[in-house]
Amino acid sequence: MKKTSRIAPARVAQTLVYHAVMLAISAVFLLPFYWMAISAFKNNAEIFANPVLWFPDPIRLENLTALLTRDDFPFLRQFANSVFYALSVACAVCFSCSLAAYSFGCLRWRGRNLVFGLTVCALLLPGIVTFLPVYLGWTKLGLNGTYWPLIAPFFFGDAFFIFMLRQFFLGVPRELMDAARLDGASEFRIWWQIVLPQVRTPLIIVGLFAIVYTWNEFFGPLIYLQDRDEFPLSLGLFTFQAARAREWSISMTGALLTALPMVVLFLVTQRLFRQGLASSTLK
């Protein structure tokens, strides 16, 4: 307690300047969020008011109710689609990538380094280079217009998430697996009963990243989905904005409600997100 009172004035000034700068930068970064949020509670005239209306007055809730009723922006339907899409991908990724990452991180086999090397290459490959033939394939299968092309590939794995999970699997001590082998556990059982429980948190992290990734995914749905009622939110918002460019208040409400779930998810699970980020970059 005593210490604080003895800090030199120069230190105090430095700290104040530091926080002033940081708060100013924060304000810049938050401005788009703030503008989006207040615009959702204004009508069009108020959005374009001059001078700027920094706080909505009155606070209008009509945009929210409009979103629930308009049939050119079936928000609830699309919200449900997004939830379904994101959760499916997250589950698929957690399952498939934990298999491959376990193999790359914990087991020794001939050719492992080669396959993992190819995985890293796939990570750097621009998606479009493989996209067209895959698209033609799905079209041929008649699954164009469904969620199959958007979800099914993740049941085989995903280079990024495999890479990320492997970092965690590398941290599982080999002796643990050896002990299980001596205890008579099969290789499958070792994965399921011994190793997976050690990477429970990383799996949740990967799931979270997959949810955020899918929630924001735009290109795939844009190509594969045609029916407005099938769209996820990102695409729904885009088509609405493209068709009704002047209805800013509705667009902003849509944007706000599209972003909000991810923001909330992030705020609740921040620690995990950062942990995941740290692990996805090592080398």
């Binding site: 001590p173 050896d178 002990a179 082998r181 001596l182 008579g184 059982r189 429980p197 050690q198």
Partner: protein, 356 residues
Amino acid sequence: MGAVQLLGVQKFFGTMEVIKGIDLRVDDGELVVFVGPSGCGKSTLLRMIAGLEDVDGGEVLISGVEVSGLAPAKRGVAMVFQNYALYPHMSAYDNLAYGLRRSGMARADVDSRVRETAALLQITDLLPRRPKAMSGGQRQRVAIGRAIVRKPEVFLFDEPLSNLDAALRVEMRSQIARLHQELKATMIFVTHDQVEAMTLADRIVVLNSGRVEQVGTPREVYHNPANLFVASFIGSPAMNLLPITRGEDGSILLESGEQMIWPGGKIDGPPGRALTLGLRPDRLSLVGSDQGQISGTVHLAEHLGDETILHVQTAAGRALTLKCDGDAPARLGDLVQIGLDLTGACLFDPDGRRVQ
């Protein structure tokens, strides 16, 4: 039952031979310690017996059965790992029970076996706890429990005490010795700590770069080292090694020019034959002026209470270690006279082989 036999066992990492054809027999009920510097292959050898590493050449027999084709769990062995390798997400009870359940044992039998083992090791109150909530010593006991509970014919210990503090290590050492008495099972214990090896072992196997240097009881290995490596590795402080030559009459000619009679009679070979004399630090003593064979300056004096370890630099530049009484008068920088007592001394030829 429970004897382990190695016949020309080899192991390669890539093209490098890390285990170079080892032959060894561990009798039933024996406690054998593999000791050697790090990287000598002792852990690898242990893991090969366990079935965790493949045997690239030769044969491993447990209870007379060739086990190279058997899964680790089917070999009747259990292992205690260096970092315990307890399953972190399971209670001590489940850690003990896991292997039994895998073998298809009935639930009631599992329970009674686990409790019986826990009672033996006095860890009954730890059973509901997870490893995280235990101290190092407690984890160690649970890890041993996990090995015992399966009633294996052979126990394998891979440096199990190296993560414990000194006091606990002594306690666990005596506990393992006691367990060996009670269970009468074969035990193979790997360590780099030669004190551990000396105190625990029925027989010690000294390994160096993938080869067996010597097999013998602790006394044999200490008093009759087979070669220079064993002599310098076993014993703390390490054995003093002095270059000598054979005198005209088969006596010892020290570098200082002093002559001594070899207690075992005459030294073989031609006069002038170069040899190395190995002397334990307790065979060196401080003597009055002009009684000693060697003189030197005290470099470092470690006063340990009941004894003092003196590090002396001789005129010829050799470093010697003496073990003397706790009240030895020597101080740093003193010029001292050292007397040599050749009982129990060893002679090595330039290749490191023991000659007499």
